[in-house]
Symmetry: C2
Subunit: 262 residues, 2 copies
């Protein structure tokens, strides 16, 4: 089948980022594009844009908050939204799962940020990881071919933030949420991005509020590309398309791209 490029991009409103997607997709051949924070209801999702760029697109969003989408050149066998465990919130606007071919699973996530360690949303965030692990247990084994991507709202190691010691009580850097992230690795996922980019300063998010955050490279690596071994073995490269963060009216995130021989 050849080399496939799979990207994850928190767009911070898909409708406000069409100029960025237009420019990027015109000079970068992406096979599967996973979006988070589309921030729009399905009726107002700009599906026509993706069709014109040669993608099929599947989305589930809500007004102003959350929302995930998968745009794919190849038609998936099926697509489903949410954690499907009967609990609420059901995660429809935070998780989309597609099957490609007959055994390649792609799960695109927008994990709750959590707000504050003592906020109910942080509890929900930790629960989200629990529920995801149960989803994996129920549907797969570590030998399954699974790619998990998305904004996981966790910087898993000290290398993944700029000032780790200032951030020990941050909802994206607290021990508990790092433990939740690591439980994914323990379940059977490889951090595919780190396999190819083990160095310092590899961020995917630079806060709008930090002055010259990109030039000073004050950022976070919270957008991830994980895969079970059978897929991770086929990964050939991974990188952050950080140039997009410097374009006009950017998202605060940049895409993370993985190349897989599939």
């Amino acid at each position: 089948m050849g080399m496939k490029k799979i990207a994850t991009f928190n767009v911070n409103s898909v409708r406000s980022r069409l100029h960025i997607l237009e420019r990027w997709l015109n000079d970068t051949n992406i096979d599967i594009l996973c979006l988070q924070e589309t921030k729009t209801e399905d009726a107002t999702f700009p599906s026509e844009f993706f069709h014109q760029k040669g993608f099929q697109v599947f989305y589930c969003g809500e007004k102003a908050y959350n929302g995930v989408a998968v745009a794919s050149k190849e038609k998936p066998a099926w697509v489903s939204f949410g954690l499907g465990d009967g609990l609420l919130p059901d995660g429809r606007t935070r998780m989309v799962h597609c099957l490609f071919g007959d055994d390649l699973h792609l799960i695109n996530l927008y994990v709750p940020q959590g707000k504050a360690l003592d906020h109910p949303d942080y509890e929900m965030k930790l629960k989200f990881f629990d529920r995801l692990l149960k989803y994996l247990d129920k549907n797969f084994t570590p030998e399954s071919k699974i790619i998990v991507v998305g904004d996981l709202n966790v910087a898993p190691t000290d290398m993944d933030v700029t000032n780790p010691d200032n951030k020990r009580n941050h909802v994206c850097f607290h021990e508990d949420v790092k433990k939740a992230f690591n439980s994914l690795l323990e379940w059977g996922f490889v951090d595919v991005f780190r396999k190819h980019r083990p160095g310092e300063g590899e961020f995917s998010f630079w806060d709008y509020r930090v002055k010259n955050a990109l030039e000073r490279n004050i950022g976070w690596r919270i957008d991830h590309l994980l895969a079970t071994k059978p897929v991770a073995e086929r990964s050939k490269d991974a990188y952050v398309a950080r140039e997009l963060r410097a374009w006009e009216k950017p998202s605060d995130h940049a895409p993370v791209v993985g190349k897989f021989e599939l």
Copy 2:
């Protein structure tokens, strides 16, 4: 002194229109630019932009509403804001009067829109014309050299709107407000724009809410260029710079430009 170009432009927020002004002023040599609806307090007026474009600039605005400015290549002898009659509102953010040389007066107006025929603002609008006429009586005779420009929020004749019969009860087209406009002509002003452009479809405002208003030319002529006879005799041309209405993120108005041999 040679040919002078004087323009009136309701910018619908000066700070949101700098890209339009940048592009326009780079390829059009304007001597005096009169702005309305600058929508910004003086502390946040982008005076540096006008300085860089070679203008002196004088402005009086308020947060979110109203606001007038005059940008001039030549330094005026003096500038004053408001109707100066001791009544309230004083009109500081709706009228600016400059003297050029020792006898050329320029009055730039943003007349209240009026909201509805039965709204107190409509009464205020008619009063505004009364107060303006008193201002003229007090300071000038019809032999004075005066240019009056601005968004007068009146379409004076059936030719100046698209569907006159639908608009008889509109605050910019009602008989009473047209009477107020005509009282300016009777006082001693010539409609300089109509002197040069007597034809149909000469509009200066196209409502954002009307689908494809510009292409369909569904608009209003409410931005005006008037002058007393001694100045009107020296007018050589007038036109609407309607191309600006088609640029990215335009104002809902286009500039009206007059050329005068002064």
